[in-house]
């Protein structure tokens, strides 16, 4: 494994960690989505790095592009849900989202 790939993979792990940390601890719904975005950045970096490692960057970036498109659709739907929640609850606090339990 090349040195570049090595530090990139370390960065991937750190990015995923930051994103998950955000998801675990933050309370604002939009912050949670930002956390998910950071995880996604880590993932796309991982895809490209894997391409570099195997000298197949063209394949890797076509995968990454598809992933980015998926990400956009996902974020759009998620933000639509957030707006829906905001309309009905007038709040963006995840702590208020625990009506379903048991």
């Amino acid at each position: 494994m090349s040195e570049l790939a090595y530090i990139c993979f370390v960065a991937v792990a750190v990015l995923v960690f930051i994103g998950l940390y955000c998801l675990m601890t933050m309370k604002n719904l939009i912050k949670l989505l930002i956390g998910a975005e950071i995880v996604a950045k880590g993932v796309s970096l991982a895809l490209i790095t894997a391409g570099v490692e195997k000298n197949n960057i063209m394949l890797a970036q076509s995968l990454a592009i598809t992933f980015i498109v998926v990400e956009v659709a996902l974020v759009a739907v998620a933000l639509a849900i957030v707006i829906g929640i905001y309309k009905r609850k007038k709040s963006l606090d995840i702590r208020n989202l625990n009506n379903l339990r048991g």
Partner: protein
């Protein structure tokens, strides 16, 4: 797709049964049912012409195939099953007209036909059991169609016949273990050792279906509770045909069956006991349908006795008697239904002198009654003579004597029934009655015509229907010559005639004692010192092992309830439930609806997975 013709007798009734559900008008349903039974009958007739066919489709695997086989004997049985179905359905169009559940009735009838045809044609024991078990359920449902009490009778029949079927199942499993095959026509064993046990178990299934003692108790009850068409349809005809068909098959083809072997003695004993006891019970009945139902039991005894002799003449006689019995007993039940339809009751005390107003019914009844009593030249005479001869040949005279005793009381009881219902003084207790319309009469007329035809030209049914049963046994066929001992002038026939005379005498005596009231004709016999006690016990159902069994089980269940059930219940209530509740409570509290909580489970799960995988891979090296 090419559907084999052998599937028609099974698929056609199913189609008619299902399609019938979609019909709205009652009239249409009646026409539909008649059409359906006629179609199946035609189909059976075609198959009877074909005689030889077989069909094997893969089914469950492991030697359990969808295996149908047609040969001479079961083609005949198939034909007769469908003839009776057709007649009963025709009759039902009038008789069941008032019923509100006519749709269900025809559904079950057609399903019964399907299962019956299936079990006749099946050449694989598992397939056979499948159809055979289906009959149990349709019988249950059909009895349930009767009056308010019928559910009890239905349950009784279900349990008794279920017991028989269970024995049958055990026998089949045992047979499978011994022979390693489930193909009926491929098995051929000596009835010794384990095979004998297997034979006895299957035999219980067969004679139970046919209604022999001690599995008969539901039949008299059903006679009161179930619709009379159901009685004519199942216990009188189809179940006899099927039960004896199975008995014949296992005793002739599956097991090699010797004269005077232990199995033969068992069969003959069962037959003789059934004849005598059932006929004794029949003699004292005061209800026409109940009387008939006890005779339905008693006559099974003759068939079993006949087949049990193991002599060619006895076996042929037994099978022939099965056919004859189905004919005249169905005719009798139908005539009782006709009386019920016109007069509203079947109690002999209330009836009387119906001959004038219902001549056709009365005539048909007379023919059938003379047949069942074994009067020359009706068909019952021929088959009974063959059974007498057969049992005489075995050397155990006692069985012949039992059969004669049966003959005496049979005739006596039918003299009583005929005398009190159709002849004698006109009863005042019932309103003016009229003869019924043709769909009721035609089946009875046809059946009586068969009675006479088969009595006079007995060689015809024997050649056509009965002898194919012995097709695999040329040595038996060679022995049979039907001319020598069926003439009137031989000792056994003369004794039989004597029996009839005795019966007539008994009846005359009884009527005299009962001040001319024919329904009291059996009272002298009823009042004999020891016999009276036995009768009383029997009437109180002391001999009814189902009722006794129910009592015993109730007692047992009480004991178990207090000694086993309560302690277990305590453990369950106090220990299991409480722990379960606590666990469920904890689990529910854990699901607190918080996203971070759920996410942390997933991540913790991932880490645990990673760790476990790591250690496991390390262990594997």
């Amino acid at each position: 797709m090419n559907i084999d013709i052998l599937l028609f007798p099974i698929l056609l009734p199913l189609i008619f049964a299902v399609m019938g559900l979609f019909l709205k008008s009652k009239k249409l349903i009646n026409y539909w049912a008649v059409l359906g039974s006629a179609a199946v009958l035609y189909c059976a007739y075609v198959l009877f012409g074909i005689k030889q066919a077989s069909l094997v489709l893969p089914w469950l695997g492991h030697g359990i195939d969808f295996d149908l086989k047609l040969y001479g004997f079961n083609a005949a049985i198939l034909l007769w099953v469908n003839i009776f179905t057709f007649l009963v359905v025709l009759y039902s169009t009038i008789k069941m007209e008032t019923s509100t559940r006519i749709k269900e009735y025809y559904l079950y009838v057609f399903l019964t036909v399907m299962f019956a045809n299936g079990s006749v044609l099946a050449d694989n024991f598992v397939l056979f059991l499948f159809f055979w078990g289906g009959l149990l359920i349709t019988l249950y449902m059909l009895i349930m169609l009767g009056n308010l009490n019928s559910y009890k009778t239905a349950l009784k029949s279900l349990i008794l016949l279920g017991l028989c079927d269970f024995c049958l199942l055990l026998g089949v499993v045992l047979l499978w273990k011994i022979s390693g095959s489930l193909k009926i026509s491929a098995i051929s064993l000596e009835a010794q050792g384990l095979a004998m046990i297997s034979f006895l178990l299957i035999m219980i299934g067969a004679i139970g279906k046919a209604g022999a003692m001690p599995f008969h108790n539901w039949i008299p009850d059903a006679a009161i509770d179930a619709p009379v068409t159901v009685m004519a349809f199942l216990p009188a005809s189809l179940e006899k045909l099927l039960g004896i068909y199975l008995l014949t098959r296992i005793s002739l083809d599956v097991f090699h069956f010797q004269m005077n072997s232990p199995v033969s003695i068992v069969l003959m004993t069962v037959g003789a006991i059934t004849i005598v006891f059932a006929v004794m019970m029949a003699l004292i009945q005061k209800d026409f349908k109940r009387l008939l139902s006890y005779h339905a039991v008693s006559q099974v005894g003759y068939m079993i006795l006949g087949i049990g002799t193991g002599t060619p003449l006895g076996i042929v006689g037994g099978i022939f008697h099965m056919l004859n019995h189905a004919i005249y007993k169905t005719g009798l039940f139908l005539s009782s239904g006709s009386v019920e339809l016109a007069a509203g009751t079947t109690e002999m005390k209330k009836l009387g002198g119906l001959m004038k107003s219902m001549p056709v019914t009365g005539l048909c009844f007379s023919v059938c009654a003379l047949s069942i009593s074994g009067v020359w030249p009706f068909n019952g005479f021929v088959s009974k003579e063959m059974i007498f001869h057969g049992s005489y040949e075995t050397g155990y005279l006692i069985f012949t004597i039992a059969a004669w005793v049966g003959a005496i009381f049979t005739f006596a009881s039918f003299l009583k029934a005929g005398h009190s219902i159709f002849f004698g003084a006109k009863s005042t207790e019932i309103p003016e009655v009229k003869e019924n319309s043709w769909p009721v009469l035609v089946p009875m007329i046809i059946l009586s015509a068969f009675c006479i035809l088969f009595g006079v030209y007995s060689i015809l049914p024997l050649k056509l229907f009965i002898l194919p049963a012995l097709s695999g046994h040329p040595e038996v066929l060679a022995e049979l010559t039907f001319t020598h001992n069926l003439s009137l002038l031989n000792p056994i026939a003369l004794i039989s005639m004597g029996c009839l005379v005795i019966a007539f005498g008994l009846h005359y005596l009884g009527v005299k004692k009962g001040q001319g009231k024919a329904y009291l004709a059996s009272e002298p016999v009823h009042n004999l010192p020891i016999i009276k006690t036995i009768y009383n016990l029997a009437e109180n159902r002391v001999f009814d092992f189902y009722e006794q069994g129910v009592k015993l089980i109730k007692l047992l269940s009480k004991v178990i309830y207090y000694t086993v059930d309560r302690p277990i219940d305590f453990v369950y209530e106090r220990v299991v439930t409480v722990t379960g509740r606590i666990v469920i409570f904890i689990l529910r509290v854990l699901h607190n609806g918080r996203f971070a909580n759920y996410l942390s489970w997933s991540l913790a799960g991932l880490m645990a997975l990673g760790y476990v995988m790591g250690t496991l891979i390390k262990k594997a090296g």
